[in-house]
């Protein structure tokens, strides 16, 4: 991390692990609790559960890491990220779907039957191009106005998915999205898919790590703190903001592609505004301006749903909603007591 403070780590080394825990080191506690929960749940629910939840985690984590680049490192609170996720998901779905829609009585769209690994780059590049255009328009906005227009992007993209029926089949959704195929072997098994998703997550995390530890990442944090001052020291602020915005959008599109081929069916309901707000909440929960925090946040979010099943007064249908309540309350508590999130290095 570029912004680690010396004092806390030095003091920590003097105290040792137990001492730090006793001292109420929230970061350490958060790490331990989440890891213990992961292990506990996997033993309790078995490996099938671990595989499913691992895949869900990998997809969410790619999203949170990518969004943290924008929110945590650049200070732009974007609530529109789900749009790029959707672009990736729809690109892969439309290009790889094997259903012959002309046989269906509902909306018909052409079938392309591309392989997954040909469609994914198309989705990523498309998301990047859209991000470039959107970014040029959004570049002048900051703070709460940026939040408002990013809400706008989320709603506009959702409406496009829903209403551009000739391309997306609207509310009917797209079926039979292809699974990835590596050297003649289709990844039909859940375990194989998990491995691929985790590999993608590793790539995204590595790229993100390389970005934030480079001079480029340092400049981003400077821009976040004071745009004008960063400009006077020779940085073309708009270019930097645009670049990270596009990179982040492309990562989100990658998550989208994985998501649609994993579920094999998508419709606009996966890309509603609320999901986007959830996504921002997870990023803030895990911590701003830290990649590990984003991974932890995604893991917490995935586990929360399972945790809610323990509550006796919540019917199973409403577990997702209960998780949302918990997340909302957590978010408020964090804003009160720890505005940088669990592991964060940047306070809003």
């Amino acid at each position: 991390m570029t912004t680690r403070t010396g004092e806390s780590t030095e003091a920590g080394q003097r105290l040792g692990l137990v001492g730090r825990l006793k001292n109420g080191n929230i970061e350490l506690w958060a790490n331990l609790i989440v890891l213990a929960l992961v292990i506990g749940f996997v033993f309790w629910r078995g490996s099938g559960f671990a595989i499913t939840i691992g895949t869900v985690f990998a997809i969410w984590a790619i999203l949170t890491v990518s969004l943290n680049l924008v929110v945590g490192y650049t200070g732009l609170l974007s609530v529109g990220h789900i749009g790029f996720f959707g672009i990736g998901a729809y690109s892969v779905a439309i290009l790889t779907s094997t259903t012959d829609y002309s046989l269906l009585r509902t909306q018909s769209i052409p079938t392309h039957e591309w392989p997954f690994f040909a469609a994914l780059p198309v989705g990523i590049v498309l998301a990047g191009a859209v991000a470039l255009v959107v970014g040029v328009v959004f570049n002048r906005f900051r703070d709460d106005v940026f939040v408002l227009v990013s809400f706008g992007f989320a709603i506009i993209s959702f409406n496009l998915f829903l209403n551009a029926g000739a391309i997306t089949r609207g509310a009917f959704g797209i079926h039979e999205v292809a699974r990835p195929n590596i050297v003649g072997r289709t990844l039909d098994g859940e375990l194989e898919y998990l491995i691929m998703a985790l590999a993608c997550l590793a790539i995204v995390s590595l790229v993100a790590w390389a970005i934030v530890t480079s001079s480029f990442g340092r400049v981003l944090t400077a821009i976040r703190e004071d745009e004008q001052a960063a400009a006077v020291f020779g940085y073309r602020v708009t270019h930097y903001k645009l670049a990270i915005w596009v990179i982040s959008a492309m990562m989100a599109a990658m998550a989208g592609g994985l998501f649609s081929s994993w579920t094999s069916f998508i419709d606009p309901n996966s890309f509603i505004l609320l999901e986007s707000i959830l996504l921002v909440s997870i990023v803030i929960l895990g911590g701003l301006a830290t990649i590990w925090g984003s991974l932890l946040g995604a893991m917490t979010f995935v586990l929360l749903e399972e945790g809610m099943r323990f509550l006796p007064f919540i019917p199973d249908v409403y577990v997702g909603q209960a998780r949302q309540v918990a997340l909302g309350v957590l978010l408020v508590v964090l804003m009160l007591f720890r505005p940088q999130g669990l592991m964060g290095r940047y306070k809003l």
């Binding site: 703070d143 706008g152 829903l162 978010l331 009160l336």
Partner: protein, 366 residues
């Protein structure tokens, strides 16, 4: 609990947890508000403890009453009648007394108090009897109950969160993220309690279509327009003509200075929160009667409100009205060429255009 009905005699909520929570919120809010208002005035005459006791008792009673209202929504007209009557009576008495004092141009003791009191009492009792006599008035009373409840929840959030948050917050984004948290929690709670499917509210007056200029319009829509205009006029009067409004504007300009010159900023901001929440509830009810209610209906309405204020000019009441009206028109104009499903897109495109080229809005604040 999922097949029963909501407040208003047509849907019942018999979820004890919800009733208790609402009762507690109301009790807390009433106690706090009374304490905040009464304590500075009665400090000289009574001890802090006895004021707290009295206020606590009033809060508990208010909470119990709220619980009662929620438990027996069918008999809303009976339960709410006396309170409505009391309110009408007090209002009439006050108005009469004002007039009497002005006419006799002196505060000559018992006359100025007694006569209005008796007349007020009579009118209030009449109003109470009228309401209690008509079960169908339950629906309209439920509007009042909903608005008051929403106002209390808004006040509770203000006291419980806003005050603390603002003392700690270093940027407006913290408030924004906290509001997102509240939004997530509340909308999910509503989904858990009331299901996520949209459901219509019972028909109110004027729900049938009226032919107007070659098109069919619900009479209720005229009522909606009327209510929003009346609400706007009321707010305008409140802000421009009353000392409360002057305080609000002073706080808007500079809160610290307002505190120094002796405005009780806590109470004023609390009242603003209450009014805001009550108005939001009214908007929800009206749009619910127009289409249907569902847990997530709030966010988009809220965003549209935000857009309207940006388009009209932030911090300008006329601007907000103009912006809202213009936005509504633009959304509807869009229907000529495009299908209606694009209206959200149109709103946000308008927003982005305005922010890019006309960031101060149509009626900028000075």
């Amino acid at each position: 609990m999922r097949h029963q009905e909501v407040v208003g005699g047509h849907y019942e909520v018999q979820n004890p947890v919800v009733n208790i929570v609402f009762g507690l919120v109301v009790a807390g809010v009433v106690a706090w508000a009374l304490f905040e208002i009464l304590y500075p005035r009665l400090r000289g005459r009574f001890s802090r403890r006895s004021i707290q006791g009295a206020v606590g008792l009033a809060g508990i009673l208010a909470g119990l009453y709220t619980g009662l209202l929620l438990v027996y929504p069918d008999n809303l007209h009976l339960l709410f009648g006396p309170v409505a009557g009391l309110a009408v009576g007090v209002a009439v008495a006050l108005a009469l007394r004002e007039g009497l004092v002005r006419v006799t141009s002196s505060e000559d003791g018992p006359m100025a108090t007694l006569v209005p009191a008796i007349i007020g009492l009579a009118v209030g009792a009449g109003a109470a009897a009228y309401i209690a006599d008509r079960p169908e008035s339950g629906l309209y009373l439920s509007w009042a109950v909903s608005c008051l409840l929403a106002g209390c929840v808004g006040l509770g959030l203000y006291r419980g969160l806003y005050v603390t948050l603002r003392n700690r917050a270093r940027s407006p984004l913290i408030m924004l993220v906290a509001s997102m948290g509240i939004l997530l929690a509340i909308s999910a709670t509503i989904t858990i309690v009331f299901e996520s499917a949209p459901r219509p509210l019972p028909p109110a007056f004027g729900s049938g279509p009226i032919e107007f200029g070659g098109g069919n319009i619900k009479g209720f829509n005229f009522f909606t327009v009327g209510v929003s205009l009346a609400g706007f006029a009321g707010l305008l009067w409140l802000l421009q003509r009353t000392s409360f409004g002057r305080s609000v504007r002073a706080i808007g300009d500079d809160e610290d200075v307002s505190k120094v010159v002796g405005i009780n900023t806590t109470v004023v901001i609390a009242i603003v929160f209450f009014i805001g929440a009550a108005f939001a509830a009214m908007a929800g009810i009206l749009s619910g009667h127009d289409t249907a209610i569902q847990p997530r209906m709030g966010l988009l309405l809220l965003l549209k409100g935000w857009i309207a204020s940006v388009v009209g000019g932030i911090g300008n009441l006329y601007g907000a009205l103009l912006g809202g009206f213009a936005l509504g028109m633009v959304e509807q104009f869009g229907i000529w060429d495009l299908a209606g499903e694009w209206k959200d897109v149109i709103s946000f495109v308008v927003l982005i255009l305005f922010l890019s080229f006309w960031p101060k809005g149509v009626l900028p604040r000075k």
